[in-house]
Each structure stands twice: as structure tokens, then as C-alpha cells.
């Protein structure tokens, strides 16, 4: 029996947020990201027979999503005309200088910072996924969606002190999980 098995009926609850964060970090358009996640689930279902069970479910879904993101970039680019780069020298004196000197310095473009945030987001999502379901739900409602204590208590039918115990446990677990790489 393979080590991992697919459970499509749990995909949305278990992975939708993780995949969505991954997609949003890459296409920076939340509507488009939603569509990509949806397509990923459908594609995953259709190719479930190709799942060999040697990767974890989430890794496998991320691999599909990656393809979807790349396809999306291709689609966008094929709509545009071919990019044309024209470099004109600002003055005659500069003529003959190396073109590379006119290219923006990658270090001042702040690209690294964004990349780090993307990875950070996935690291946190990954740790949240390891929490017990209820802790994960409450933590997300409070921290990410910013719901009020009262609303969460009403929705989940728990009392405030219950809620704080759950959040406290979740945060303690998250600190432990993120410890090695991010603190």
C-alpha cells in the first residue's frame, strides 16, 4: 500500500488556504489566485490515478499549482506583443559605454524582501496546518481574518476564556514550529 493516499473530500479544508497564499504570492491578483486554486483541485482530481503515493498530498497539489501559475504567465505573455527593448543613450558622451551599466541594480529593487515574505507566509501556513483543526481555525479567524472575540465565540459556541486557551496553545505551538528558521 502506498505511503500517502489522496482524500479529495478534505482538500478544501486542509489545503485551500495554503495553496491560495502560494498563488497570491505569485500572481498578485486574488481573484485569479482563487481560480488557479480551483483549477488545481479539479486537475488533481482528474489526474488522481497518476498519484503514486510517494509525495505528501500537499506537495503534490503544490506541484500542480506551480504548473498552473506557469501556464498563466504564458497566457498573459502570449496576449502581449513581443517585448521590445530599446536603449537610447541619454547623451552622446555615453555612446560606447557598456549597456549593462544602464540596467537597474537588482539589489536596490527590493526583490529579496518580497521573496522572503512569500516564504515566510508559506512557513507560517505550513505550521498552522500542523495544528489540531480547532486551534488552526480559531487562530486563523482571530489573527488572519481579524474577527472579534465575541463573533468567534458565537460562531463556534465557546466562551471567551475557552477561546483564549485555544489561541494561547496555538501560538505556543506555532512559536515552536517556526523557531528554527524564523526567530
Amino acid at each position: 500500500m502506498p505511503e500517502h493516499q489522496l482524500q479529495p473530500e478534505k482538500w478544501v479544508d486542509n489545503y485551500a488556504d495554503y495553496l491560495f497564499n502560494y498563488a497570491v504570492g505569485r500572481v498578485s491578483d486574488s481573484e485569479l489566485a482563487k481560480d488557479l486554486v480551483q483549477e488545481t483541485f479539479i486537475a488533481g482530481l482528474n489526474s488522481a490515478k497518476n498519484f503514486k503515493g510517494d509525495a505528501a498530498e500537499r506537495t503534490w497539489l503544490i506541484a500542480i499549482l506551480k504548473r498552473k501559475v506557469i501556464d498563466q504567465y504564458r497566457k498573459q505573455n502570449s496576449k502581449k506583443g513581443k517585448a521590445e527593448v530599446r536603449i537610447s543613450y541619454t547623451n552622446d558622451e555615453a555612446e560606447g559605454d557598456w549597456l549593462e551599466e544602464n540596467v537597474a541594480d537588482p539589489f536596490i529593487m527590493g526583490g529579496d524582501d518580497k521573496l522572503e515574505n512569500k516564504e515566510l507566509g508559506l512557513a507560517i501556513e505550513g505550521c498552522i496546518d500542523k495544528l489540531p483543526r480547532k486551534q488552526a481555525d480559531v487562530f486563523k479567524m482571530k489573527t488572519i481574518q481579524g474577527m472579534s472575540t465575541e463573533d468567534i465565540c458565537n460562531v463556534l459556541e465557546i466562551n471567551p476564556s475557552n477561546l483564549w486557551v485555544i489561541i494561547h496553545r496555538a501560538r505556543t505551538a506555532l512559536m515552536g514550529c517556526l523557531n528554527e528558521s524564523w526567530f
Binding site: P8, E9, W11, V12, D13, A16, D17, F20, N21, V24, S30, K34, V37, Q38, F41, I42, L45, N46, N117, L120, G121, I124, E125, K140, K142, T143, I144, Q145, T149, W164, V165, I167, H168, R171, T172, L174, M175, L178, W182, F183
Partner: protein
């Protein structure tokens, strides 16, 4: 005025969401003066808050998730 480490931890977590009272925060600070463990814990807890903010995490809304579930069910 004296509180246990457990209580201090809970206040600290509440404080991350700005829902601890001034009196509670005072008790926590006072406790942390003498308790290395809690003062370290508070620091980390605050760091976690900063990390979460920096990561700009997002979740899908309920409706979207329901729609996704339905779409999946149709294919199953």
C-alpha cells in the same frame, strides 16, 4: 498582584490582540521583571505577531470554499 506563569502567558497572548486590560498588562510586566522565562516568552509571542503581519497571510472566504467543495463534489 502576583500571578502565575500560566496566567502571564495568557495575558501576553491577549495583549497580542490588544484585548488585555491595563491592569492585566501591568501584572504581566511586573511578573516579567522577575521571571526570565515569561519575559522571553513575551518577546517571542510579540515576534510571532510581527511575523504574521509581515507575511500578510490571507484566507479564502467561506463562500469561495463552499463553491470549491461543490465543484469538487460534482467531479467525484
Amino acid at each position: 498582584m502576583k500571578i502565575s506563569c500560566e496566567e502571564a502567558g495568557h495575558i501576553c497572548t491577549k495583549a497580542q490582540y490588544k484585548e488585555a486590560s491595563a491592569w492585566e498588562i501591568f501584572k504581566l510586566k511586573f511578573h516579567s521583571l522577575f521571571c526570565k522565562v515569561c519575559s522571553k516568552y513575551s518577546k517571542k509571542n510579540t515576534q510571532l505577531t510581527n511575523l504574521c503581519e509581515k507575511a500578510n497571510l490571507q484566507t479564502l472566504d467561506k463562500d469561495t470554499k463552499e463553491r470549491m467543495k461543490k465543484a469538487l463534489e460534482q467531479q467525484l
